[in-house]
Symmetry: D2
Subunit: 301 residues, 4 copies
Amino acid sequence: MPLTPDQLAEIEAARAEPQPTLRAVSPGMEAHLYKAVPVLDHGFVRVIDYMGDDAAIVQAARVSYGAGTKKARDDSGLIRYLMRHWHSTPFEMCEVKLHVKLPVFVARQWIRHRTANVNEYSARYSILDREFYIPEPEALAAQSTVNNQGRGAVLEGAEAARVLEMLKADAGRAYDHYEAMLSQDGQQGLARELARMNLPANIYTQWYWKTDLHNLFHFLRLRADAHAQYEIRVYAEAIAAMVKDWVPAAYGAFEDYRMGGVTLSAKGVEVLRRRLAGEAVTQETSGMSKGEWREFEEVFG
Amino acid sequence: MPLTPDQLAEIEAARAEPQPTLRAVSPGMEAHLYKAVPVLDHGFVRVIDYMGDDAAIVQAARVSYGAGTKKARDDSGLIRYLMRHWHSTPFEMCEVKLHVKLPVFVARQWIRHRTANVNEYSARYSILDREFYIPEPEALAAQSTVNNQGRGAVLEGAEAARVLEMLKADAGRAYDHYEAMLSQDGQQGLARELARMNLPANIYTQWYWKTDLHNLFHFLRLRADAHAQYEIRVYAEAIAAMVKDWVPAAYGAFEDYRMGGVTLSAKGVEVLRRRLAGEAVTQETSGMSKGEWREFEEVFG
Amino acid sequence: MPLTPDQLAEIEAARAEPQPTLRAVSPGMEAHLYKAVPVLDHGFVRVIDYMGDDAAIVQAARVSYGAGTKKARDDSGLIRYLMRHWHSTPFEMCEVKLHVKLPVFVARQWIRHRTANVNEYSARYSILDREFYIPEPEALAAQSTVNNQGRGAVLEGAEAARVLEMLKADAGRAYDHYEAMLSQDGQQGLARELARMNLPANIYTQWYWKTDLHNLFHFLRLRADAHAQYEIRVYAEAIAAMVKDWVPAAYGAFEDYRMGGVTLSAKGVEVLRRRLAGEAVTQETSGMSKGEWREFEEVFG
Amino acid sequence: MPLTPDQLAEIEAARAEPQPTLRAVSPGMEAHLYKAVPVLDHGFVRVIDYMGDDAAIVQAARVSYGAGTKKARDDSGLIRYLMRHWHSTPFEMCEVKLHVKLPVFVARQWIRHRTANVNEYSARYSILDREFYIPEPEALAAQSTVNNQGRGAVLEGAEAARVLEMLKADAGRAYDHYEAMLSQDGQQGLARELARMNLPANIYTQWYWKTDLHNLFHFLRLRADAHAQYEIRVYAEAIAAMVKDWVPAAYGAFEDYRMGGVTLSAKGVEVLRRRLAGEAVTQETSGMSKGEWREFEEVFG
């Protein structure tokens, strides 16, 4: 259970007193505000603040294109048009601020998305809690034999037990020693900025993370993807569910054009044209490498 | 008068119906929402949306530093500490979206601030209005004789009149020809993306501009500065007045540490130490160039 | 002719004395260094400096993936794999610095690409030259009747002549008055930062523009595209020709996966699967809007 | 010793064959290229590539200001002027690419500098080496009693020994188990992307890191500062030494105006004026908080 009673009381308090505002309000997102969606064994994601809604995207687009667009298209059609034609700036007009608790090795992937603002808990300044990510049995997977950066089958019986035992014991011992090094009982106590180096990458950290909708979609496209590591994908999926309630029209367009979309190479377009014309194309006659051909066949058979 | 009756009615409508929100609300900024502050002869700035307030800055800092900071400092003291020590990430947790109408030559300076989101009126897609910036007599200044990128005395009588006459006549003629080229009466009509090239840099454009508070402070420091061109400075000043109402504690720290602050070189520090110790230091004995010395003396006499 | 004899002599001098370096060298790019490729009537693009080559992209990828990749793939195959899977960071390891002379209305589009470094000629500080873009007859196009931000047929006889006459006369007069306002003969002379506002958007400016290869590819995808305005497209094409000589393998992958590629929506994928299975799909049964269907048919018939 | 014989041979080979180039060449930086400067117990920094030199900064500034500046100032004076007046864009015209081997907890601080390009060794894809940062005795410091994010005195005898023993034993055991989990001898073998979570933050990683000179100076100002954590400061110092050889004039200006410079608040300026006028100012009469006053006194006594 990731939240303490104090934290739950804080959330309740924060949700207790709505205030009037003249800004754009998204009822779907208001329902999520401050509530923590549990992710993994000790993590969570929650929305702390947001700016804009579907109408704000449309409004920004109409600053660019002028009032003429008002008659031509309804809002949802305009949003789909913007997404289809990679007009990203109107989506940048929405912003969201999340509070995330996550294992350090997930944080290290996440932070590679540079167009975002971040305030992370400082282990130079404060002491980390004794909380480590220990995978559920069904997440304990073997190395993939076909994909150098992927997973294969779930580990079985004794091997799974050995792995869990090592992860738990090492994390526990590392944290015991972290505390022992920090302790000022009868000794000076090691500096926090040094003691933290003993902690493994499955310890939990937390941060405020703020980004705009365009960059969030880019994050979701990469991290909610089937090829993303499971432990970051579950965060991306939790966020995606919030975004769907926040900006339903934009999220719908994102699902159609990005998550469910496919990018074809010039060669791929050519192969499809030949196949539509009745030709039987093989990898050898496609001009594609084996890897490209395999990926192409996964989509079009 | 920069606003049409339609626009005023739109603003009134947008301000008419407050809605409940659970987000952080800044009463000072709510009072500004949607209202247009006139700038120059046809321009304006207005806030369309904002995220966060002084408390949000503090809250983000406390994610980093842990709850321990709660007792140690009150909010305003913590904000001053963050500003003094260049801890910029908590200020990035606030965001603002402005609607600005401004001459193109001002827009060209403004856009150089890259960490922002922009949707500008498209003159490829739509037709620009016949509105040009014509300086007030007191803004009609001669080239500075000491500063290559500055202004000197106000132009006098006949010269000022000649300048105004040229600016007005050229703008009017350029716009007449813009319309003549676009016209489809008895001719094909030039493409809008081409016709716009005839318009001078004092024509007005407009955009939505969204940035975070840290980058906004950076913008204000450079553009509300006495060395900034007058025509962008008046926009910066109008924005600064809003920011003061939005995040009063952060704005106070900004005024003290940035707008009113001074950066000394190592040489400058050394000269001050020597002077405090009673030594009379001259430019020759300061190790500074003439330019540095002049700037130093402007501050410390 | 965009270059003065002085400039040509400078280029010759800059190319006269190769120096030894231990860095990665791209012979294809060395051949371009400093030479100005003419664009439009007075513009040019030239490479001032570059960092990296195809091998540098591969080297950066191998830092990420480890030496194991060395045997598995040749360099060009790895570069294609990176491009196909949107692994953009290795492409960011190459950098290029260009010197560009371009009309202001083109510069205004160009600058919207924010991830770049720019030093532009300052009309606050210096006086602009009397050089304006006047389109060639074949570039003088009517407004498109189907695309709000596009061009249609070339203007004919008398209309074309009228347009050219207006563009030339207005530019000339604006520049005459610019000079008259600046003049200090018998008057104070208007500040340069003010006088520039009289100049139309087809006046030439120049800048140094530096960006990495990933962002340059993004720029080229948008600006060398058939939907880009002709006047920026010719710059993008001139740059693309240099990039092809600089990093031939990366450019080849870019052509196949980006310039020649197509992004399908989930609906588009579904329609193709149905058609490959022998079904005759129409717009009505496709689930697509008319606009989407038209764009889909443009590719697949 | 951070480098293997293979790596040393590679460096020697890379340095063996200079090639001619027409680009700007910095002899000071050529002397550093590819060579690894050892940092901490297993880390290093080395320059892989660079773009530009002092003259390139000046050249970019002169594109902005026009040729008139040529006579007015020598290069070094112009560079000092740019630095003093925060004209950062000419410094952005230089770029450097570094190969860095560093502990993960240092990498986590470093990556917060967002305006850079990074390719990091992937522990999803490859297996990390058994190399951990174990501090030298003189770096094994107690928590500071005055600064929540700083160090105090060096740890003494038995305590230091206990800390080192814990760090070494935990790292060794964590790596043994990492290998045991990965092993495919008689078991499936855990996925690399999961096994890595058992490794502590003092394990070494490596990356290519590329940034421009302006952002590098910002990094150096924060990370070569006395308040930075020792383990990142030694990297910053190693880089600073290279930059000094690369762009000596820019580095000199950076030392004077940034590293050795001091930012005064409006209150600080006022106090200095009063003291220069002979007044004895105390914290109570200064208007400063205790913290501000202490920092002020550290500089001016």
